[in-house]
């Protein structure tokens, strides 16, 4: 009996071992498959996260570039080794804790430089080159994928990192990671990128209002550099950071855009309606060159613009300007009409009424900064060049809770560009002859009566820089 028991026990043991062995083999193969799959998924997601890190670096750089547009102190490039200049490289290393998979840190290196080849000769605007490397540690083992094609695509840095300070130079690693590198080129965007841009409500109150565009530099889109209704373009875009555009059934030859808002009276809009617009307008600060004891202008005055291109403009500071009763402020240039530049800073209000007038003589490019209210009516402003880029009005950002305004009206036409994101801007109709050639940026913008706004597309590459836009993007996957 004992011998029989022994034989049965041995048989059971063999079967048990056999079954356990088979089950173990199945389990091992399953674990191997699952592990390889998990590893592949982990490396793939880490690879994708590294791209997010690199693109975040571009955003970081653009934030600093935008900060540099603000009045001082703007703290742009704080923490960077060098502000970017011609051939000078700025460099930043940022580590975002717990940003990656399984709570791993995300590291972003960003280099910004300003090559001289990227200066636009027409307006001297500098394009910037941003190079970023995003890095995420691999939380799994330092093991390559089973498939060599995966290794060629996803360049994991298991023992060596191929980029050092953004340059393709290898260095050894203590722990595996993934790095991806992107190069983007950004170009400046003008403050006058739209026909009308408002922080708040845009109100076009009359269906006879026309907003359209032309390009004074293109003879197919203008005649002798002037607006020609026969060559009308449809880039008279209107945008608001707010939620409302009261289009008033005006004839708008362009797009309209709100910040998740609505457009009422949109029957005569030729372009598209967007609801995804937001562009923070850069506030204008008081000029640093302001005269400490300025006078005011109340009578006939001539200011000479003698500065030529490439030199500092002729500069004047006044406490206020008030013109009426045949009193004229003349901005005089060279008698031969060659290009000269003048900048005027008005600390207080500016008023032109009745037969008073501001005359910009031929060849003069005038920039007027104002801190108070602006009221232009009557004979208004005569811009002899008829180019809105030659008369630019910039409203200094008023204090918080302060209410300032710009009111433009008059008997006929005005060629000017107005950037006053802290002022309520009103364009009062001058009858059927009321035409404004240029661009308007305001806290709110209201057009009344019959008035027409013709946006000169050339303004998109002149004036103050308000933003930066990516014009080229490339991932360097060497």
């Amino acid at each position: 009996m004992r011998r029989e028991h022994s034989t049965k026990a041995g048989s059971v043991l063999v079967w048990t071992v056999l079954v356990i062995g088979i089950l173990s083999l199945i389990a091992m193969e399953t674990v191997r498959l699952v592990t390889a799959k998990y590893q592949n998924a982990l490396q793939t997601s880490t690879w994708q996260e590294a791209l997010l890190a690199a693109e975040s670096g571009i955003d970081l750089a653009i934030v600093e570039l935008r900060k540099s547009l603000y009045p001082q102190p703007n703290h742009a490039w704080d923490g960077w080794s060098n502000p970017p200049g011609n051939q000078v490289t700025g460099y930043e290393l940022t580590t975002v804790p717990n940003a990656g998979l399984s709570g791993t840190p995300m590291t972003i290196e960003a280099n910004v430089d300003a090559p001289s080849q990227l200066i636009d000769p027409t307006n001297s605007w500098q394009y910037y080159r941003i190079r970023t490397v995003g890095t995420i540690p691999i939380t799994g083992p330092a093991r390559t994928s089973d498939n060599p094609q995966d290794t060629k695509l996803r360049r994991l840095s298991l023992r060596w990192e191929r980029f050092t300070n953004g340059i393709l130079t290898a260095h050894s690693l203590d722990a595996p990671q993934v790095s991806r590198r992107i190069e983007a080129i950004v170009r400046p965007i003008s403050a006058f990128d739209q026909a009308i841009m408002s922080v708040g409500v845009v109100d076009l109150t009359n269906q006879n209002i026309v907003v359209d565009s032309y390009d004074s530099t293109d003879p197919t889109k203008s005649t002798n550099g002037l607006y020609d209704p026969a060559k009308r373009q449809e880039n008279g875009d209107i945008a608001t950071d707010g939620q409302l555009i009261e289009a008033g059934n005006a004839q708008i030859y362009g797009d309209v855009a709100t910040n998740a808002g609505t457009v009422s009276g949109a029957a005569n809009i030729t372009g598209i309606e967007r609801t995804d617009f937001y562009q923070e307008p850069i506030p204008i600060g008081a000029p640093s060159w302001a005269d400490s004891s300025p006078g005011s202008i109340n009578g006939p005055t001539t200011l000479n613009a003698v500065a030529t291109k490439g030199s500092v403009a002729s500069r004047y500071t006044f406490s206020s300007i008030s013109l009426s009763g045949n009193k004229t402020l003349t901005l005089a240039g060279n008698p031969n009409g060659s290009q000269t530049y003048i900048e005027i800073y008005v600390i207080g209000d500016m008023s032109v009424t009745g037969t008073g007038q501001i005359v910009v003589q031929p060849g003069v490019t005038a920039t007027i900064y104002f801190a108070g209210n602006v009221d232009i009516s009557g004979n208004g402003v005569l811009n002899s060049n008829n180019q809105p880029g030659d008369l630019m009005l910039y409203g200094i950002q008023p204090p918080t809770n302060s209410s300032e305004h710009v009111s433009i009206g008059g008997n006929s036409q005005i060629s000017a560009s107005i950037y006053a994101p802290g002022h309520d801007v009103t364009v009062n109709g001058g009858g059927t002859n009321g035409h404004v050639y240029g661009s308007i940026v305001g806290k709110t913008v209201t057009m009344t009566g019959v008035s027409n706004l013709h946006y000169d597309e050339k303004l998109g590459s002149t004036g103050a820089i308000n933003n930066y836009k990516i014009v080229s993007w490339f991932e360097d996957n060497r």
Binding site: I26, E29, L33, K37, N40, T44, W47, P115, Q117, L118, D120, Y127, R129, N147, Q149, D150, K152, L153, R154, E183, A184, I185, R187, S461, K469, I470, V471, S472, W473, F474, E475, D476, N477, R478
Partner: protein
């Protein structure tokens, strides 16, 4: 005698039970063996199908990632089923190093000579999906993928890739629904303005 008779008849009884036992046990053994065989066969086929699915899925991810890499930096796209061509900026010079771009006078930039670009061609041929850059030797991205189909839908600012294959879980072949269920989608935002159509992202 009685004792002897009883002793002789006992083995007969025992022998009858042995035959029954043999039949029953053989039947049970055959049933269990058949069950095990069928089970192992099914397990093996399922394992093969699962492995195939897993490998194909990894292939889908790789092909999709490759195409997304090029689409993100594309300036032009010619989409067609199993044959798509993407043009990217000529970022590298002839030595393989990055070069500084040049302003195009229209608010943009270009790398290398004006109008130049690098052609990336994705195509399926003889059961292999290739990626070919200009006239360089084609790089096989996935092999044994004769059942793969990749569709590229060009919507201007974004391009969507859809990759499918025929799973092998069913010996009768994959149904249309099963093939559709393997679809791997990737919608990519093109970062650059395109040269072939009017499209600007930023």
């Amino acid at each position: 005698m009685v004792t002897a008779f009883h002793r002789r008849s006992l083995p007969k009884t025992q022998g009858g039970f042995a035959i029954s036992e043999l039949i029953v046990s053989t039947s049970i053994f055959c049933s269990i063996s058949l069950g095990l065989l069928m089970g192992f066969t099914a397990l093996e086929r399922n394992y093969a199908a699962t492995s195939d699915f897993s490998l194909n899925h990894a292939d889908e991810m790789r092909i999709s990632d490759y195409m997304a890499l090029d689409l993100r930096r594309a300036v032009s796209v010619q989409a067609a089923q199993n044959d798509t061509t993407i043009y990217i900026p000529a970022y590298y010079d002839q030595t393989g190093n990055p070069q500084t771009p040049t302003l195009d006078g229209q608010g943009g930039v270009f790398y290398g000579a004006s109008g130049s670009s690098v052609r990336i061609h994705y195509y399926l041929m003889a059961g292999t999906i290739y990626r070919q850059q200009d006239n360089a030797p084609a790089l096989p991205l996935a092999v044994n993928v004769q059942d793969f189909t990749f569709d590229v839908t060009d919507a201007g600012k974004v391009v969507t890739t859809r990759i499918t294959f025929n799973p092998t879980f069913n010996s009768g072949g994959a149904s249309a629904a099963a093939t559709t269920a393997t679809a791997f989608y990737n919608t990519t935002l093109l970062r650059n303005s395109r040269t072939d159509i009017q499209s600007s992202v930023y």
